[in-house]
Symmetry: C2
Subunit: 352 residues, 2 copies
């Protein structure tokens, strides 16, 4: 494609817009003077969607997003909408479904410089570098029937073979570009959906003889992520297990405020978002750590636009502020969102 790239911006709630502004400022600096041209299209979404148009996922937002080249989303939700008839999270589930964003990709890395921030002992966490590939549009979050009254409630976990095959394909192909090791996570000693999950995992292990495959029950996996995280490369999990395990994995890095994620679909645009929440307690104070959104922007540049140079420029700026402790209080510094963003921009301008 040529011409201006269309980036749909969903600024989010509470600290969402604060860190989105920071990410877009860094994007502007990093693309200045390059051939990469883009246009930002902001749409109502999440809590802001409820406030503006009474819907966390307005039809127009879906249509605009479907035609975008990439979607940038910031943290959504919060106590303001606790009693809303439809909550901001419904927008998140809705956009995943509407855009068929079936694969959520979450890197979990612990660099030597950041080991001290991990709650794990150095010897337990050293060398950790894996990616969780979470199925995102089926399983317990979407299965029907779903029912709730005063006396009972039902959710349905459902997986079709086709849904499992397409997420396995993403995971196995990713492993071929990495350490050629896949861990298939399930609860196949109890759940029917997990039996099918494991069976298809075994079929893929035959189709990809160059990839080493092992299988873990989700409970054992929640232990292994703490005890021996460095053993993993690509971890493929159903939707619900992936929700739990990917947050656990993020926690062992000690750097939740820095981790980006990507959700990929079938033909449409990818969606990029930080993994953390909207942090209502610090919203409006100008002290939110912008790094997750900045890393999210870098991920978008590399993955959706193949602009690796621009992505590297942004990553170098991130490494620089961390190394010089030009960081917000959650990382032990005393910067504001604005001053930290300015330091990132200054670094990028000097490198240019």
């Amino acid at each position: 494609m040529t011409g201006k790239k269309k980036i749909v911006v969903l600024p989010g709630d509470y600290i969402g817009p604060e860190i989105m502004a920071a990410g877009l400022t860094v994007l502007a600096a990093a693309t200045q003077g390059t051939d990469f041209k883009y246009e930002l299209i902001e749409c109502p979404f999440g809590g802001a969607g409820i406030d503006q148009v009474g819907d966390p996922l307005p039809d127009e937002t879906i249509q605009t997003a479907q035609q975008a080249d990439a979607i940038l989303l910031s943290a959504i939700g919060g106590p303001k909408w606790d009693q809303a008839p439809v909550r901001p999270e419904a927008g998140l589930l809705g956009i995943r479904s509407a855009l068929n964003l079936f694969a959520n990709i979450r890197p979990t890395q612990v660099s030597p410089a950041q080991i001290e921030r991990s709650p794990l002992k150095g010897e337990n966490v050293t060398g950790t570098d894996f990616v969780i590939v979470r199925e995102l549009t089926s399983g317990a979050y979407f299965g029907q029937p779903r029912r709730l009254d005063q006396d009972e409630a039902v959710d349905t976990m459902y997986y079709s073979r086709a849904e499992i095959e397409r997420i396995m394909a993403v995971g196995f192909q990713l492993a071929q570009q990495r350490k050629r090791h896949v861990t298939v996570v399930d609860k196949s000693n109890v759940l029917a959906t997990s039996k099918l999950w494991r069976q298809i995992g075994q079929e893929f292990s035959h189709r990809y003889p160059d990839v080493q495959v092992d299988y873990r029950y989700v409970d054992a996996m929640s232990m292994a992520i703490i005890a021996h995280p460095a053993q993993f490369d690509v971890v493929i999990t159903p939707n619900l297990f992936g929700d739990i395990l990917s947050d656990e994995a993020a926690q062992i890095t000690g750097s939740i405020g820095q981790i980006p994620s990507m959700s990929i679909g079938v033909n449409g645009p990818n969606l990029y978002e930080p993994i953390h929440g909207s942090a209502p307690d610090i919203a409006g104070k100008g002290i939110a750590n912008p790094l997750s959104m900045v890393n999210t922007v870098a991920m978008m540049m590399a993955q959706s636009f193949n602009e690796n140079q621009i992505a590297h420029k942004i990553q170098a700026a991130v490494d620089y502020v961390i190394a010089h402790k030009i960081v917000t209080s959650d990382m032990g510094g005393s910067q504001t969102t604005a001053s930290m963003t300015q330091a990132l921009v200054d670094f990028i301008r000097e490198e240019n």
Copy 2:
């Protein structure tokens, strides 16, 4: 009740019988010369049940267990039965269901002496002392319909109000005997069963005004267990989430080979078991750590028989062998199962 207590023994698979023997040897030593009299009734169960009578949970085992005063179970399952039409785990789910063992209680404690064994940094894990109360006979593990063919699979998560109320009652009452703090875990921003779970949690918070209650999504909880475990007291969770979180919690202690658990029913006997698996890799070598089973026996003496003195005697012996590093290789020592058990027995005899 007077007379001999009936203890049903389900010795388990692989290292199961090895540590069961150790636990029973310690039980004999600790009760010698006391008024506590008991009779052991061994029944086929799990993999051993499949091998002996073709069923992981024979009817006779259920009937005998129903009439017992307590049930001691060791680790079950393993690769030997991977292709069996009915697997050992089905026996575990079956006995939970048949005996209505709806509440699984798992203590998570990190004593100062054991902090060094934790994969977490000392400052993260110090002061950890909480109990997970896991619903054990409903939820995703038991809901119907359940379906599996080559092309799709379905599991059902189901909870009734009555099922949630009885587990909440166990948790809130336990909190009243502890630090008066309950954490209700759910995924109520997505799942219908979790919405009912949280709603009933809120009702209980009004019924127990002396108990402080907070609410966590399961993904956030998987982070908090690593980041700030000392904040928790009693954690009440649905079946599937409890499976994952209780193993994660066990891992942060660094002492999986030592943790007992208890499952309580409505009127019948409680079931006691170590939390770890059957460790096929070290079975038959005589090197399995017996402490989990020994601690399981102590838990049974205190909880089912109110024999706190005997329980303390056993715990003192456990503290002694740990302090003097008379332990198996998984704890950094060089003892065998037999020699470690002998050290426990010797300590108990001297104290007598």
